[in-house]
Symmetry: C2
Subunit: 299 residues, 2 copies
């Protein structure tokens, strides 16, 4: 089996496992208003690639852990990612009508329910991370995971990044500003995904640091690839209009560096990610192929 | 010193302690965009009565704990309360222009920053609850606190209650529906406030249950009192227009029960709260006088 076949089978398998777990972990209909339940499920099960949970599980595996033990954390990461998409798409923010080829949450359920669905998913992530679990990790390790994820999601991470992104629409873009935005908006949660995987596996400080460096580079690669896809991707595959960043005058890597330079920067980031975990054994193979996948993905 | 003097001095003292702690715990300017920092501080320091943190500390004290150890939890409760006010006031939700006599967050900073300030505060609460603290409670106890608060804030609690409230504006109000909304929207976090205080103090199951019952009744009393103040309160003291619920056709206790019946229900709830902690010693005096204060407050 070559790397491409391995990757395809691996991602499919992991995606299915994560979908199953999300179905199990999300509260059932009786525990919340029907409309909110429908909106939450609509947004969570809308064809996401589950990259953050998959990265978390791959890091856990690379550090010698059992992936079954990481499912609540992996799913919490996806809930937080989904909440951030719902809120970012709102009229007051990016005002997007489509996401993955489907109308965005507020287009279907209205703004009030969309805001609340986002709030609910963010909060539910912490319910999931804190509740009694079949697999009993040391409580200190679970607190460390909660702290990492809360920090990545918060003012210094995703929320701060989205605020910078909003404010950047009114000022002249520059490279430092762009990196700041993306490190927080996309990078922080990706880094938290692999770091929490390593923490759950009980990895030592050196391994945790190596996985964090991998996460930083992969997060950057992911954002550059996204920007490039927005310029030259196939809008049918993407499920949204390509070229929308340029129309909106959004700060992107291709806009600032040119397309060729942006691609070179992407390749560098992927190499740096793989280099960061060079000392890991073959259990880190998934982390390595995922890094390449980010560069080559078509949607 | 009679009860009124004691109460006034007590609430003032606790309010000051909580304000100081909030100032210390909120991330500084360097860690987030200036505009977001300003919006967060504007909303957190806008004259809140700090009822939830004060209840948490009072329950901690009533169960024999040292209040200094409860400050991160007390402050996390206030951050979550503040986030919920910011999001509830948004144009897509209750569309309120004023809160405590000042323009609401979105009126000053715009909707995008208001949504993000709410998201930031909700997330920051979990940073605060999970981060390494000077006072080292057993990690299991800290996880239990996170779980209680996340559950109270989430789909089964505050978010679910606000969704019900939004949906209720389009259907005929009834009493069961009203109780459902308030138990989730206001009651859940107040109950979590006293319950987490008891958990932090290391109280036994019986005491925790008693404190929970106190919280349920006090939460109900708080909501009825709020509804009554909206009918007959002094708008200058309240910092918002009275009578706004009626104009909006909102489901309230006075609207459903009539004013006199609503007042009788309030008095019953306060008595039941005090009865729930009848077996506690004099360290529960603050819990007792706070219950009475809720009935008698003017704003």
């Amino acid at each position: 089996m070559n790397n491409d076949d391995f990757l395809e089978a691996y991602l499919k398998d992991r995606c299915d496992i994560v979908e199953d777990a999300l179905q199990r972990y999300l509260p059932d209909e009786d525990s919340m208003p029907q409309e909110l339940h429908t909106a939450v499920h609509y947004s969570v099960f809308s064809g996401g690639k589950r990259i953050r949970p998959i990265l978390c599980l791959a890091a856990l595996e690379a550090c010698g852990g059992d992936i079954a033990t990481g499912m609540p954390t992996a799913c919490a990461l996806e809930l937080i990612h989904t909440y951030s998409l719902i809120h970012d798409d709102l009229p007051a923010m990016d005002n997007d009508d489509f996401r993955r080829g489907k109308p965005t949450c507020h287009k279907v359920f209205g703004e009030a329910i969309a805001i609340l669905a986002g709030d609910a998913l963010l909060t539910e992530a912490f319910v999931l991370l804190s509740q009694a679990q079949k697999v009993r990790f040391p409580a200190e390790r679970r607190l460390a995971v909660i702290q990492e994820i809360a920090h990545a999601a918060g003012m210094a991470g995703m929320v701060g990044g989205q605020a910078l992104d909003m404010l950047a629409e009114t000022v002249e873009p520059d490279f430092t500003g762009l990196e700041q935005i993306h490190r927080r908006k996309t990078g922080a949660l990706i880094e938290a995904a692999v770091k929490t995987g390593a923490i759950l596996a009980g990895a030592g400080e050196e391994k945790i640091q190596a996985v964090c460096r991998y996460g930083t580079h992969v997060g950057l690669a992911f954002q550059i690839a996204d920007d490039i896809l927005n310029v030259e991707g196939d809008s049918a595959l993407m499920g949204k209009n390509t070229g929308s960043d340029a129309t909106r005058g959004k700060v992107t890597y291709p806009a600032l560096l040119g397309l060729e330079q942006a691609k070179a920067r992407l390749a560098e980031a992927v190499e740096a990610a793989i280099e960061a975990i060079a000392a890991f054994d073959s259990r880190a193979l998934p982390l390595r192929v995922i890094a390449r996948f980010i560069m080559e993905r078509k949607s």
